[in-house]
Assembly symmetry: C2
Homo-oligomer: 334 residues x 2
DNA sequence: TTGAAAGCGTTACCAC
DNA sequence: GTGGTAACGCTTTCAA
């Protein structure tokens, strides 16, 4: 087992100090060009490999930005992740991804793992965290961004939108088009905080409009997707006829409901309206296409990148709060 | 700006040596239980966060396993990633994710970035790589796993299935059910290697069965998804009537085609069969549900975890080749 | 059961 | 333009 080639070895071979090798390999112009060239060549020929870990350790700069997602298997979060990844790459930063699988108790452990890698910033999806997580993050002393939400009591910077307002847009639209008997299809209570906020927003908006109580349909623990929406409606059976609108926590759930309802022979939107959330691809391609809210997943990523850029340049010393908003998108299911 | 809490700080607070703290936090039984407990509590209350970088530096083990994916925004790859992440967490390993966005020329750069972090293993999705990438990976000297494919000339271990065989299952089925005029809907040539393999497999299987030449429909550069399938059919217009089966590169593309075809008023499968690939959720929930091939994304992840476990235990010194197979799943679109 | 010393490979800082 | 010294936070090793 051959031992690793270090800067010292290269330095010895060339006849300079390790310090000069370090500088030369970083293209420091204070090293003379001939020396630099000789060092580069020698390093190459000796099979020298730069040790990022040692550098990260010495400089206390990891080159990482940590990000948590409730789930990787969500097209919107994946889109935000992609935008973050591409944007931060330009700044020489690598994303370190942690997924909590929607389990609140896991977030603390996850954040701890990520912080242990000494990231230069921490991006959290959502604005609801355990007290332990909040303490951990606050004392970590690096820039924090919460995204996909507009928390009342943010930990640092915020880039998101109001889930409550977004959901109210949906209910307002349904009321305007004459719907009154609403059912909400989403995850079990407590599992998914953004889902819970949306649920409460529907209940509140319905009250505001003087509608009868909203029926809450439990599609199972988060993450809920197409099959859960479908199963929820199948379980309900013909009773679905009691409602004139199904308000779903997301587009995939809405599509599952749509599929189940169509199988029953009901007409959408004539017999029943269905709405989604998130402007997923399925909303556009479904037949009929689904009424939803566009939350601009990619744009959130871009905004976070821009914000972090400013933070690293010391151009943003006070916590920023960026509301990216969201837009109602009427489809053919309402 | 407060400076970081280290083991030394904790040690001082408790009145022991840093060494004892180090042992205690790793649950070393040689530290007495009362001491351990006190150290744990003090560490917690002081907001101590373990420094994995320092540990990685000292032990020369990064605790990372690097993995490349063509795209994060793909439910199957996301599922494999999740299985990998969960499985490796038990071994104290963290995943370092890199996404090539289906661009071959980006893979080399990506692999270089990942290797600089000194991962303990490298997992590549797919079996097609540039020569530069192959050289890079070979000389890195760590365990390599190629997954989602069965390459002829593997770089190390392999966990995958034959895309060609899988696609042949589809064509065989279509022929058996009387279809002869096939069109293939997939990404542009050259962009996505797995897609290209599937395309060639369809052409070859059609020849084998004596069918007329397969029409190749270009749905755009990879990644192709629902909207691309839909656009391809919309672009084709009524000419779609020339075919009696649309063989799609993936389930999302198949759903896009299904949606477009239904809008035209054609009946599926009576007028036209449609097949997908990958056993995505949409295949099951679509109406009618889509004929596809189940490739067991999660199982691939489990197998890779098991394989790496054996490799780390020195139980697998020769390159392993695990064919996880795949199963034909008949839906209602054929 | 606990502690002291040394060192992992790099770079900041200061000297020359 | 180049080099010497020290240190980043942890764990291996040996000693008590």
């Amino acid at each position: 087992m051959s031992t690793r080639v270090t800067m010292r070895d290269v330095a010895q071979a060339v006849g300079v100090s390790p310090m000069t090798v370090s500088r030369a390999l970083r293209d420091d112009p204070t090293v003379s060009e001939p020396t630099r060239e000789k060092i580069r060549q020698t390093a190459q020929s000796m099979g020298y490999v730069y040790d990022t870990t040692a550098r990260a350790f010495r400089t206390q700069k990891s080159g990482f930005v940590a990000v948590t997602l409730p789930s990787v298997n969500n097209a919107n979060f994946a889109e935000t992740f992609r935008a973050l990844s591409n944007g931060l790459e330009a700044a020489g930063l690598q994303l370190l991804l942690g997924s909590s699988n929607y389990r609140v108790e896991k977030e603390e452990q996850l954040v701890r793992q990520l912080l242990a890698r000494n990231p230069e910033a921490l991006i959290l999806t959502g604005g609801h965290h355990s007290q332990a997580t909040r303490d951990l993050v606050r004392s970590a002393g690096m820039p924090i961004v919460e995204m996909w939400d507009l928390p009342d009591d943010p930990l640092g910077h915020v880039v998101g939108f109001s889930n409550a307002n977004a959901m109210a847009l949906i209910v307002d639209h349904l009321v305007q088009t004459g719907r009154r008997k609403l059912a909400f299809v989403g995850a079990s209570k407590g599992a998914d905080m953004r889902g819970a906020v949306r649920r409460e927003a529907v209940i509140e908006a319905a009250q505001r409009h003087g509608l009868p109580p909203v029926k809450l349909m439990d599609a199972g623990p988060a993450p809920v997707s197409m099959r859960h929406g479908r199963a929820a409606i199948d379980h309900l059976g013909r009773d679905v006829g009691q409602f004139d609108a199904l308000v779903c926590v997301s587009d995939p759930v809405a599509f599952g409901c749509l599929s189940a309802v169509q199988r029953m022979g009901l007409r959408v939107p004539d017999d029943l309206a269905i709405t989604g959330f998130g402007h997923f691809e399925i909303a556009k391609v479904a037949n009929p296409c689904i009424t939803t809210v566009n939350v601009q997943a990619e744009h959130i990523g871009h905004e976070v990148v821009a914000l972090l850029g400013a933070v690293f340049d010391n151009a943003a010393d006070t916590p920023q709060r960026i509301d990216v908003g969201c837009t109602f998108v009427r489809g053919e299911t309402s």
